[in-house]
Symmetry: C2
Subunit: 247 residues, 2 copies
């Protein structure tokens, strides 16, 4: 793990890093409380499709989690996203999804295809990144949470199912297609966020994914609005959820 | 409004009262922070069917809301409940509901009939109680919230729809039957609690009631478990919801 830059603002230190894996370089970012040495719980954040490790929603949530909760937060560019090379197949599917959404058609199958392209690789990458970050003195091998919406949920479900170090997860904005069986292997506490008027994820599909988790503690939070309209107070609520389970 | 007793424990003062209305005496209870004069937001709590104003769930939530949130909390015995006389018709329906649940049958229609028995009267009673309580120096005419599950939701939906002084409501554990149209007249922020494996309220009915509220801000919280298994952390969450909207 090579750190390539370090800056601080409003009490939050941001370190950009690169992790060299056999599958290529993974560009990532780690946020921690400024001048606060020692171990702390870590939240891994998976960004949405078409976004990247420092997309506005990721950046804002990461800062809040660090500043208000004292967590460490890490994000990486998912395969085919951000600074990473895009495969031809990914480009083709992304174009089809945009056309499908613009035409008001159901893009669910295409979205699943896009997530499938990166899923296997993403699990291995998150595991490698987690191992590397837990060796840092200012993070340590404490409890780990995962937060990911939409594609961050699509890649997160297989990761959380496979990774015993993850003890709690906030997932959402995605349906059961291609994920329901994997979701039945998740037993840690889950918070699942659903947008009641999601134009990309049919309501019944979202409810079915919530239904599939095997977790004894799982809570569905549904709010009015479209795919991108997640209310701000759900971030406060996610922070308290992680504090309760990882604190 | 006549106060008949006053006790304090753990910083919470409990005052039993009776309000004389044309329809009869309404027995109630008011909880406020001990030795804390001045106005404060008020939460009205509607108990469930077969319960009463000091049922364990009401008492525990009221104490927490007062001690942690500084709220005033009031509860009254609903028509046919607690210290109030029971009508013959009410007794007949209650017996039928118990038999129906014991036989594993759908008691939804009977539950609706029970709520209908008390609904019109309950709205007028809550309004009279609210007016009386807001004249007290240690409560005042500040913002008002309503909390009610199951029958407390069945009587609460028409009350919240009719009463502009109520600015936020936590409702749940009930379905759309006979309530959906009234729910479309509710526009204040609503938190709606649904038990995913509710043996009394079909899941689709609960989702349909959440769907019916006209509120721009409404959030569904669904958790695994049966009608009586509402998780403890939802009380913490309700407290923060009221603090955000009434504080």
């Amino acid at each position: 793990m090579r750190f390539t830059s370090q800056t601080s603002s409003n009490g939050v230190t941001e370190q950009l890093f690169t992790l060299d894996e056999t599958l290529g370089e993974i560009p990532g970012v780690l946020w921690t409380p400024e001048d606060a040495p020692g171990a702390r719980p870590l939240i891994l954040m998976g960004h949405g499709g078409g976004q990247h490790k420092k997309a506005p929603g990721i950046l804002a949530r990461a800062h809040q989690f660090v500043a208000e909760g004292g967590f460490a937060v890490a994000a990486i560019d998912a395969p085919n996203h951000g600074e990473r090379p895009k495969s031809e197949e990914f480009g083709r599917i992304a174009t089809e999804i945009r056309a499908s959404v613009a035409a008001g058609e159901d893009a669910a199958a295409l979205v699943v295809a896009m997530h499938d392209l990166g899923a296997g690789q993403a699990v291995a990458e998150w595991q490698a990144v987690l191992t590397a970050i837990q060796q840092l003195d200012h993070v340590g091998a404490g409890p780990v949470g995962y937060w990911g919406m939409s594609m961050g949920c699509g890649l997160g479900v297989p990761f959380v199912a496979a990774e015993p170090r993850v003890r709690a997860a906030v997932l959402g904005l995605l349906g059961a297609t291609a994920l329901a069986e994997t979701a039945t292997r998740i037993t840690v506490p889950v918070r699942f966020l659903l947008q009641w008027d999601d134009e990309r994820v049919p309501r019944a599909e979202g409810l079915a994914l919530f239904d599939a988790f095997a977790s004894a503690e799982k809570t569905l939070h549904a709010n009015p609005g479209k795919h991108g309209d997640l209310p701000r107070f759900e971030t406060d609520s996610s922070l308290r959820f992680f504090a309760r389970h990882l604190g």
